[in-house]
């Protein structure tokens, strides 16, 4: 595959704050990239630099091999869908979608019939065929999202940048728009860059997931690799599905953390972070602990949270550390644990990930 967009050592500072730190990333044609990162990781800045709303302090942005440094935002051919949709309030849905074709500097579309045909076609694609005459205050949040998308897509951009596109929608709509976004992208065969702070969304949407951390690219790979083999402890932390223990290992396959010794693979030594995923842990009553299978830690049950397909149990481990255990209910019924009792949380040493500093 060919890189449609490439960022090379892009650096951006706001005052003294470094928003992007020599970031390099290549986006391929016809793929869905989700850009995951906590707030302040620079993901919105990255999007704004690609769109041309901000200038990088150093580094270069290349679109199909051409540098965009001297290309103003309105000539880039990159679509940007902002978080609040930014629909023009004084224009109808149809006029919003027609805006770019009508008003662009390069080759504006003057032919009324051709304009109408293209706008109608795009409104059809996003499922708003009958709403062209509505005002932007007469449609729902999900429909606004579609208008914003149609308005950008109608100009045939090479890339679409979506800044937290599902953030302003309610949960029900969010799930539906996920499917919609992927369908629309597949139909058009262009690259979507989807910025989100939500790890579920990033994993569900992206063909590839890029994880940003403090202005740097921490990892970029397929969702499965990001989820199962995060490249660093910080990536594991963003995924919000790992119990993490700080400590050190002396190369003997034993990881020493405050109040417990955990088994790990014997390669590697030094101070580090020991991570084990919520759903890899097995809970057994403390006295009857069969320590043969795997390694573990003793903890007190606090509470549980039921969320339909799964249940999350919260335990207090050594040093007041809160540990989470997740059971998927399609395979098991929820177990009853009594609050305040001691339990043995165990897992296989192979399932644990250890990151050395």
């Amino acid at each position: 595959m060919t890189a449609v967009l490439e960022l090379k050592n892009v650096t951006k500072r706001f005052g003294g704050e470094v928003a992007l730190d020599r970031l390099s990333i290549a986006l391929e044609a016809n793929e869905y990239i989700s850009l995951l990162g906590p707030s302040g990781s620079g993901k919105s800045t990255l999007l704004r630099i690609i769109a041309g709303f901000e200038k990088p302090d150093a580094g270069d942005v290349l679109l199909e091999g051409r540098s965009l440094a001297q290309v103003p935002a309105y000539r880039r051919g990159i679509g940007f869908v902002s978080q609040g949709f930014a629909l023009f309030p004084h224009l109808s849905v149809f006029e919003n979608v027609a805006f770019g074709l009508r008003n662009r500097e390069d080759d504006p579309l003057r032919d009324g019939a051709a304009l109408r045909r293209r706008v109608d076609e795009m409104l059809g694609l996003v499922g708003l065929a009958d709403l062209g005459d509505r005002g932007t205050d007469q449609i729902s949040g999900g429909q606004k999202q579609r208008v914003a998308l149609a308005r950008t897509l109608v100009a045939d951009p090479k890339i679409i940048l979506l800044d937290e596109p599902l953030g302003a929608l309610d949960a029900n709509l969010r799930t539906r728009m996920r499917v919609e976004l992927r369908r629309i992208r597949q139909q058009l065969g262009i690259t979507f860059v989807h910025v989100t702070g939500n790890e579920d969304e990033a994993l569900a949407m992206g063909d590839r997931v890029a994880v940003l951390d403090r202005g740097r690219l921490a990892q970029i790979s397929d969702p499965d690799s990001v989820y199962n083999r995060p490249e660093s402890a910080r990536v594991a932390k963003f995924l919000n599905c790992y119990n993490m223990f700080e400590g050190r290992c002396d190369g003997d396959g034993v990881f020493q953390t405050s109040g417990a010794s955990l088994s790990c693979s014997p390669d590697g030594a030094g101070p580090g972070m020991y991570c084990v995923r919520f759903d890899k842990i097995k809970v057994t009553p403390a006295p009857a602990a069969s320590q043969a299978a795997g390694t573990g830690i003793q903890a007190t049950f606090i509470t549980s949270e039921y969320s339909g397909p799964r249940i999350t149990y919260f335990f207090r481990g050594p040093g007041e550390k809160v540990l989470e255990v997740e059971y998927h209910l399609s395979h098991q019924r929820p177990e009853e644990f009594s609050v305040g009792d001691e339990y043995w949380l165990s897992w296989l040493p192979d399932e644990a990930l250890v990151y050395f500093q």
Binding site: R76, G84, F88, P89, A155
Partner: protein
């Protein structure tokens, strides 16, 4: 797909229950309405009364009075309630007075244009280019600072500026741009327009700056991203969205300029007579009926102007 399944589920199980529920609430509401109608009505009337009485007493009655008086008979130093169209005929048959009406409209249109031409760019700068809200407020307050001096002083200050030996002429002469002073600067329609523009431009700046500062910057970014250049964005997004501000500013300026008499009296040397000046003179010589005629005409002109301006924008929707 999900949606259709959801709605099916709803209609299968819930529709009958929902219908029954809605019928019941409707009945309850109707019963409540029947018992509550009279008391609700009297409450509404009571709440409306003070405002209605105030407006009737101090707006509607005086205006009807003015129309009524305009048909009274004018004697030398008094008026009598004998109805006649004499004053109306006098107004429209006199070239002087009819010319004053046309001049008022002309000066109003010119001042409207100059206040807009000066006010819009100023508002654009304050409302759109100054991003800092505090700085925005400070600059807007600076625009109002001249109002801390009296109206008369602000108007009269133009005399030493525009006079034959005034500041403007001195500067132009010193620069060698003119060999002798320009005399038409003061005591002409020009000086009246200059004075009024300076005084009323701020009423144009305020509302426009307010509307401009409410424009979401992401709209401008979106337009830019969709390929529009600066001028296009201004024409298609910024200007239309600021239009309510322009209309409000135009209403302010119009109402004040149409009723003006002090600026023209002070800066025209009594050469430029506007409708306002005629009212002042006529009242001064106790010609009440005739003053009332001019008052009615002025009010009618203003009503037409405001109605026309409100045609442009639905202010209730915008503000």
């Amino acid at each position: 797909m999900d949606a259709s399944r959801d709605s099916n589920a709803l209609s299968d199980g819930g529709s009958e229950r929902a219908t029954a529920e809605s019928v019941r609430t409707e009945q309850a509401a109707r019963q409540q309405a029947r018992s509550g109608t009279s008391s609700a009505r009297s409450t509404t009337a009571m709440l409306l009364a003070p405002g209605t009485i105030w407006m009737l007493l101090f707006l509607v009655v005086p205006m009807l009075m003015m129309v009524y008086v305009s048909f009274w008979t004018q004697k030398t130093f008094s008026i009598e309630p004998t109805l006649t169209v004499q004053s109306w005929v006098a107004f429209f048959s006199s070239e002087t007075y009819f010319a004053a009406l046309l001049r008022t409209i002309k000066i109003w249109l010119i001042v409207l244009a100059t206040t807009f031409a000066l006010g819009y760019p100023t508002a654009l700068f304050i409302g759109l280019f100054i991003k800092n809200k505090t700085l925005q407020t400070i600059v807007l307050v600076l625009c109002v600072v001249p109002f801390w001096t009296s109206f008369l002083i602000r108007v009269l200050a133009w005399r030493p500026m525009l006079g034959k030996e005034g500041a403007v002429n001195i500067v132009l002469e010193k620069l060698g741009l003119i060999s002798e002073p320009i005399e038409v600067l003061l005591f002409t329609e020009f000086s009246v327009v200059v004075g009024m523009t300076q005084i009323y431009v701020v009423f144009m700046v305020g509302p426009i700056a307010f509307m401009l500062s409410r424009i979401d910057p992401s709209l401008i970014e979106a337009a830019r991203d969709l390929g529009a250049g600066t001028w296009r964005i201004f024409r298609t997004i910024i200007f239309p969205l600021s239009l309510p501000g322009v209309v409000v500013g135009a209403i302010f300026v119009s109402v004040m300029v149409l009723g003006e008499f002090a600026t023209s009296a002070a800066l025209s040397g009594r050469k430029v007579n506007l409708l306002g000046n005629i009212i002042v003179t006529q009242v001064g010589s106790l010609k009440w009926a005739f003053a009332a005629v001019v008052g009615v005409i002025l009010t009618a002109v203003m009503a037409v102007v405001i109605a026309a301006l409100l045609r442009f924008v639905d202010l209730r929707k915008e503000l």
